[in-house]
Each structure stands twice: as C-alpha cells, then as structure tokens.
C-alpha cells in the first residue's frame, strides 16, 4: 500500500488556534466525498459513451489523515493506493482524482474572486459543497491547498452558499434556535413544530425517537427549548425547516425564584416599562409599546433559560431601547435591544482590564437570538477563549 500527500486543508479561526476540534472532523470526510463526486463527473465528461464509472472507481480513492500540523489546525491528507487501485488508474490512463482536487480548488478560487465557476467543474458535483464547510462559523475558513503548501483557495460559508445555489434552490446550515414546541406528531414522520422565540416562525422539525420524547416533554411542561441541528434555507437565506436535530435541551422547572441575579422577575421588570410616559427621562424619551415589551420579555426569557444566565437587571434607555445587564467576574455583559428595528447590540467588558468585545444582531433573522445568547453566555460563564 502506498501513500502520497494529496491536499492540505488549513482551518482558520479562533476555534482552530490550539488544536483541531473534533466537531470539524466531518469536514475531512465531506472533502473526500466532494473530490470523488467531481472525479466521477470528470470521468463522465471524458467518456460520454459510458453510462457509469468503472467498477472500483469509488473504492480506488481513499484519503487518510496523516497528521495535523500546528500554527493553525492543518490536517494533511494522504491518498492511499493499493495494487488494485493502481491497476485501475493504469487502465483509465488519466488521474481523475488529482484533476478533481485541482478543479475543486479552482472553483473555490473563482467564486471567491467573483468569476464564473470553471466549465470543467461537473454541475452535479456542485451539490456536494453542501456537506463541505457546514461546520464553519461566519468568521472561519478552510484554505484548500495543494500538497506541501499552505497557500490555496480560501473557502468560507459565503462561498459554499454561492456554489451550492448554482445547482440547488436551497442549502443546509447548522442552526441553534431558542423556542417553544407547539405541536408534536408521529405521522407522516416523527417530528414537531417549533415556534422560535423571537421571530415567531413556525418550523417543521424532523426528529429521532430520543429528541421526539424530549419535545413531547417540553410541550407538556411548556418550557422553552434550545435546539441545535441542521436547518434548510432557501436561496434568499430564509430558514424553512429543520432537517436534523443533534440536541434538544429544555430547562425543566426553572424559575426566577431559584435563579441568581435580580430578585425582581424578568417579566415584571420588562412590564414595568409600560408605565413610562413620553418624556420620562428628557423631552424626547418615548413611551414603550406594550406588544414590543412582550416580545422583549420573551426574547430575554428564552436567552436566560437556554443559556443558563442569571435573571438580568432590566432598564429602559432614554432613546427607547431596553437594556439587560449581568454583573459577573471576570466579564460583565449587557445587551441593548431596539424593539423598533429588532436589532440588538451586546457588550462584554472584562472588568480587570477594561477590554471590551461587542457584537450586533438582527433579531428578525432565524437563529440570531441564540447567537446573541451564546455571545453573552460565553463571556458571562468565562468560557470565552479569545
């Protein structure tokens, strides 16, 4: 059995600075599947008279992880060949796998540079980009580089989306959602409907037996849930359904009475803002819309329970926004929600150094509330590793 370097994937982002997280390992298998699909397409284009690839074509392409180099997480992939696969390659007279690797890299680079996808890229294979890069966050990338190099095409979520949408009208992405289970059903398939906490969107969720039982319990107990899984998005980026759930957790029997933080319940604090008349702080301070405050209370409730935060201290701002603040060590966190624009700004201040991290969220977008909750919780619970 022989092995030779095939490709180097450089994972960029904070998550990959120290080591290769196991959550990202499926990317390696997805990359192999992508290259294989492209190789099949290249074979078909070169052999239009053939209906299928030769027997053993797929088995002849096998990648193994040689090592993960440091500096960033850099898995080095080796291609393994056997006498059988070498025999097949000899018959084919052309190395479709090496060509496929290069076509993948060129296609990524073309999209990144705003050019057309190379004509040699088989259109059917573009759908395979759906599985590759699925675990990437917005600020992460995979540099797809040739053997013995770290210079290559930079692959991001945005490039993945563009490649997939060339051949499909929808694409899948990981989602983390906060919401309530509103119905459950066993027919036609096991699943439930989740109403998201902020956008009130009703989403069909396909589930396994274990997840289904948790959904039934959350429905019965009327507790909010945190769903982690895979969502299906249309070409406009709208989440249309949840196709897979990897975790569904609920906060059973949680109440403000047992929760640290402000001793006044969250709902009572938010509701109290209804009593503020126009001009309550200065001449321009607006009154608060009761419906918007109900929405705000639900948003904070979902975030607090899903991310195990103390009850925040809630205040109005003179500009008509709602602030929630949490005192903690080493980080103090706060979020300011504008109910009119449905946007929020979150701040985390490291108390001893004054270092500040900030992020803004468009709460009308699916999953934004959980991104906001994660930002707050990572800092508040001291799990931020920046």
């Amino acid at each position: 059995m022989a092995r030779q370097e095939f490709a180097t994937l450089v994972f960029e982002g904070d998550r990959f600075k120290a080591a290769m997280p196991v959550q990202a390992l499926p990317e390696l298998a997805a990359y192999q599947e992508l290259v294989l699909a492209v190789a099949k397409g290249l074979f078909a284009a070169r052999n239009p008279q053939r209906k299928n690839v030769p027997r053993g074509f797929a088995d002849s392409f096998r990648l193994v992880l040689d090592r993960v180099e440091g500096g960033s997480a850099v898995p080095v992939l080796l291609r393994e060949t056997t006498p059988t696969s070498e025999g097949l390659l000899g018959k084919l007279g052309h190395d479709f796998y090496d060509q496929a690797r290069d076509v993948v890299e060129r296609s990524i680079r073309a999209v990144a540079e705003g050019r057309e996808i190379p004509s040699e890229m088989p259109r059917d294979a573009l759908a395979k980009f759906n599985a590759f890069g699925r675990t990437l966050a917005d600020d992460e990338a995979i540099v797809v580089a040739p053997p013995a190099s770290r210079q290559g095409a930079r692959y991001t979520r945005e490039i993945r989306r563009k490649l997939v949408l060339h051949v499909r009208s929808e694409f899948e992405e990981p989602v983390t959602l906060v919401g309530w289970v509103v119905t459950v059903g066993r027919e036609p398939a096991l699943g439930f409907v989740l109403r998201t906490a902020v956008t009130y969107q009703r989403l069909d969720v396909r589930s396994s037996n274990v997840v289904f039982e948790r959904a039934v319990r959350a429905l019965k107990e009327e507790t909010p849930v945190l769903l982690v899984g895979t969502g299906l998005f249309d070409a406009t980026g709208k989440l249309t359904k949840v196709t897979e759930v990897s975790d569904l957790s609920s906060t059973e029997g949680d109440t403000d009475g047992e929760r640290p933080g402000c001793r006044v319940s969250l709902e009572e604090q938010v509701r109290s803002l209804e009593g503020l008349a126009p001009g309550w702080y200065d001449a321009d301070s607006p009154a608060f819309d009761p419906a918007a405050l109900t929405w705000t209370a639900q948003l904070f409730r979902g975030v607090v329970e899903s991310f195990d935060l103390p009850t925040p201290y809630v205040y109005p701002t003179p500009e008509g926004e709602v602030r929630a603040e949490w005192s903690g060590e080493p980080w103090e966190v706060a979020v300011i929600v504008d109910t009119r624009t449905r946007r929020s700004e979150a701040f985390a201040t490291e108390v001893s150094t004054g270092e500040v991290h900030e992020n803004s969220f468009t709460l009308s977008e699916a999953g934004a509330e959980s991104k906001m909750g994660r930002f707050l919780a990572q800092h508040f619970h001291g799990r931020f590793a920046g």
């Binding site: 402000c262 001793r263 006044v264 604090q269 109290s272 009593g275 503020l276 309550w280 702080y281 200065d282 321009d284 201290y313 809630v314 205040y315 109005p316 701002t317 003179p318 500009e319 602030r323 603040e325 005192s327 103090e332 706060a334 700004e345 701040f347 201040t349 108390v351 004054g354 270092e355 500040v356 991290h357 900030e358």
Partner: protein, 147 residues
Amino acid sequence: MSRRKLDLEEGVLFRQVHPTFMRDGRASRQAFRPTKKDEGFLSVARSTLTTAQGAYHLHTVGRELQSVGTWGITVQECAAEELSAYEAPLECPPEKIADPAHAVVDFNGFSNGQREAKAVGLARAAEARRRLYPPPDDDPKGDDIPF
C-alpha cells in the same frame, strides 16, 4: 470653550442617578456614561464645591429632575479609565439655576463599546463607595423606586 482640567487630588465627583436606572439596588451602567444627547460629556458635581446632599437637592429641587440619590467617582478612577474631568460651571441665565460645582467627564474620542466598558469601571467604583446621599443605612433596600 476652554475648561480647566481637574487634577487627581480633586477628590470625589458626584453623579445623580435616575430612578429608572436602579433595579433591586443595582445601578445601570448607563448611569455612568453620557447619553446620545450629551455630546460625550457626563455631568458631575465637584465635592470641593458642594456636598452629596447639596448636589442631590440642586438636581431634584433646583432643576426639577429626578434622582434616586448621589453616587461618587473620583478623578483618579476616571483617569484609570483614560477619562479626563473638567470644571464646567453653569451660570444663570442661560441655565435655569446656577451651578458653580458643575463639571464634566469627557468620553469623546472613544467608541461606543469603549464608552460602555469605561461606564462599567466607573459604575463598579461608585458601587464600592455605595450611595453617598441619602445614606444607604437609611434605606438599605429602598433604592429601587417603583415606576
């Protein structure tokens, strides 16, 4: 307008806190940063020229504004946040009431996030000093005025 910068020996600067910025005895961090209309200047009063009680009464009776009490930060604590304080006496007219002790802490030149972080630092310093007027012992849990 040229304003004299207050030196580090100036001592405590008094800050009034709006009732809606108190919850369960905790002051919002926004009480220690300028609002969007304040043009980057946080209003305070100098302890070398007035008292915590005097500053409270001038604010609530003289200016007829709401306050749940007087908190204090020092020029040194401002400096630790890279903020400078300046004297800014108010005259009548044009102001409704004169305030020779009025001063400002200058947040200009800092981003919104940096202002937020500096407000956290100042609020924590003020919390450690506790409310200066009315004295907290008079009203240990009564800081939170319902509205």
